[in-house]
Symmetry: C2
Subunit: 377 residues, 2 copies
């Protein structure tokens, strides 16, 4: 079946489709929005060769730390650590804060790649429910009131949450920070999708509202390209110094840092962000239209940014079974169960609209709908 479909679709679809597999699973960028960085690399490897091919400062190139500090409300350069992506920053936060059996707070569901990182330090998870405004702060207050000691940190994705797509309004953010202050718990704000905004205005970050109570994780993966592998943490200076001590990369790659700096210095970022927003907005709209047409029995909240739609399947339909069946139909999606740190609901799946073309979205959603119907029978 793969081969037949692939043959039929090959002329209009990108290489991934040649094998018949449509990728709704990953957080890969849409190939058409990957920027041309040849000029930036050329400058980085000529004018800056003595910098880009030597060891770099462990905390990051000073110019890049300056830029990130100016991009982030309420911090300065000593609050910034450049890392090999935001997940690397989360690992370093865990290395500083966690001891074995420490509990941490996560939403249910939460970003599935954060789970094994935290778990590898022997920590345990306490789930907090979410609603259409994100993390349920009243529920968290009740949980904290019952705990014998406060958890080490609260991990959350407040902007275009992964996987649910919801964004916390400012009142909810303020309430969360007040609660974290009351119990003296650090807040880890993971915000890769903040600029991947389709409508509405940005809500102030937890970091800008909560100051030293918050460790912000950022990345150029969604601002520019995943392959650069450059992210950052913004945190109190002594915390950044401890994270830097635990970095074993002898400084993140100065070549990719300088490529980013040249891109920023050329003023290309605002235009690139507009292109990213327009591309993913159109992809979201296309996927929503396909879902309305092909799978009206599933429900979801319209995401105002990010890469994902979090589908609630009809009662009794297992997301794991749908994902397995969809894979056989040549479309990769991720079962909702993977997004729960502790066992949770099983009737969800996450669809990424970031990487696929419109044709793939149409075809892929049709196959997902077939998978749902096959599982229901």
């Amino acid at each position: 079946m793969y081969a037949r479909r692939a043959e039929r679709l090959a002329p209009t679809l990108p290489p991934s489709a040649v094998t018949g597999t449509i990728g709704f699973d990953s957080g890969h960028a849409f190939p058409g929005v990957l920027p041309d960085l040849t000029r930036e690399a050329d400058v980085a490897l000529t004018r800056y060769r003595a910098e880009t091919l030597q060891y770099a400062p462990r905390a990051g190139l000073p110019d890049l730390r300056e830029w990130i500090a100016s991009y982030t409300t309420g911090v300065s350069v000593e609050n910034i650590l450049v890392t090999n992506g935001a997940k690397h920053a989360l690992e370093l936060v865990c290395r500083v804060l966690l001891d074995e059996y420490d509990p941490i707070i996560v939403t249910a569901p939460t970003y599935f790649s954060a789970i094994p990182i935290v778990r590898s330090f022997g920590a345990t998870f306490i789930d907090v429910p979410q609603d259409a405004s994100g993390l349920d702060v009243s529920a968290l207050a009740a949980i904290l009131g019952r705990l014998p000691r406060p958890p080490k940190f609260i991990y959350n994705v407040p902007d275009y949450h992964n996987p649910t797509g919801v964004t916390m309004p400012i009142e909810r953010r303020q309430a969360l920070i007040a609660l974290a202050e009351r119990y003296q718990i650090m807040l880890v704000e993971d915000s890769p999708y903040r600029e991947v905004r389709f409508e509405g205005t940005p809500v102030p970050s937890l970091k800008s509202l909560g100051g030293d109570r918050v460790i912000l994780l950022g990345t150029f993966a969604k601002l520019m390209a995943p392959g650069l592998r450059v992210g950052w943490a913004a945190a109190p200076a002594p915390f950044i110094a401890r994270m830097a001590q635990l970095k074993t990369d002898a400084g993140s790659c100065p070549l990719t840092q300088r490529v980013i700096l040249e891109f920023l210095a050329a003023g290309r970022l605002p235009q690139h962000i507009e292109r990213v927003q327009a591309t993913y907005r159109a992809n979201r709209d296309h996927m929503m239209a396909a879902l309305a047409r092909e799978l009206p029995e599933a429900t979801y909240d319209r995401p105002h940014g990010g890469y994902y739609i979090w589908l609630t399947l009809p009662d009794g339909v297992s997301g794991d079974a749908v994902a397995a069946c969809a894979a056989q139909q040549g479309v990769s999606i991720i079962a909702g169960s993977k997004f729960y740190a502790n066992p949770g609901p099983t009737h969800h799946v996450r669809l990424a609209f970031s990487h696929a073309s419109h044709e793939e979205i149409d075809d892929g959603v049709r196959r997902v709908a077939e998978a749902v119907r096959a599982v229901r029978q």
Copy 2:
């Protein structure tokens, strides 16, 4: 004093000298041997853009793993993990193997950057002495015979040891492997300088002699350029799989990996290694001549490769005091005490001849000699 010297030397010296500081401390490359990688980056960012700007496989680009496997005797692709430098590989080895209070074996002295990485996992160090043939296997046998349980691993730099410069002959390597086999201890072979060889023929690696008993750490930092931040581990396949699980970078940077592959595919490596060897050989000879002239009271073994000379100072002269005094004279060296995991001898300093020009070597060794005489008085 800094300013006056800097002014006098500025026309012939690299930028670091403009501030008056001569760098004998770091493992930076000589600026003149940093390769031109502009063509490689251009190809990586055009023909391979869909690869180099997206997430890469966690274990590394398959082509690069293939190349490393073919470069390494006795392994295949599933034995290779691409990392963000060799120290990152060491960290992952520690994460897999170490529990708090575990002892590991190191030479005294040992590579000083390995010490805090191992220590950050709560492990402890057992020192083994070295002689002109490297790690003293008889002494290690005596130590292992007395321990209640075997250490988790033996860490060593068998080729052009950092800091002492000694290389283990094959018989010594075979004896070490036999001992590790007898006690079922893993050997971690850190070998960044293997190709930075000035004379003689290479000795077979511990990995080629010891097979699955050995975890080899390699790097392109010394083969090509430190700033690329690409290294690797070669180990049994299940061990590599576990290391890959613990990698939090979502795959090492595919852009720098592809730049390296293009450099290798163009056949540039052999010629580049010749240039590296000629440059550092000349630097070593220049530093040895300067030491004979300026500081005949210090002794050292002639290194046949690598970046460093390990100076034994006259009796009663503290390496820490000499390093502090030399810093005031505008030359950075590292006190020998920093290379001991447990408190050790204090009458050594390490001089790196890799980064400095010949003029800087002459001037820097003169200043080190002045520092030694100032401390002696």
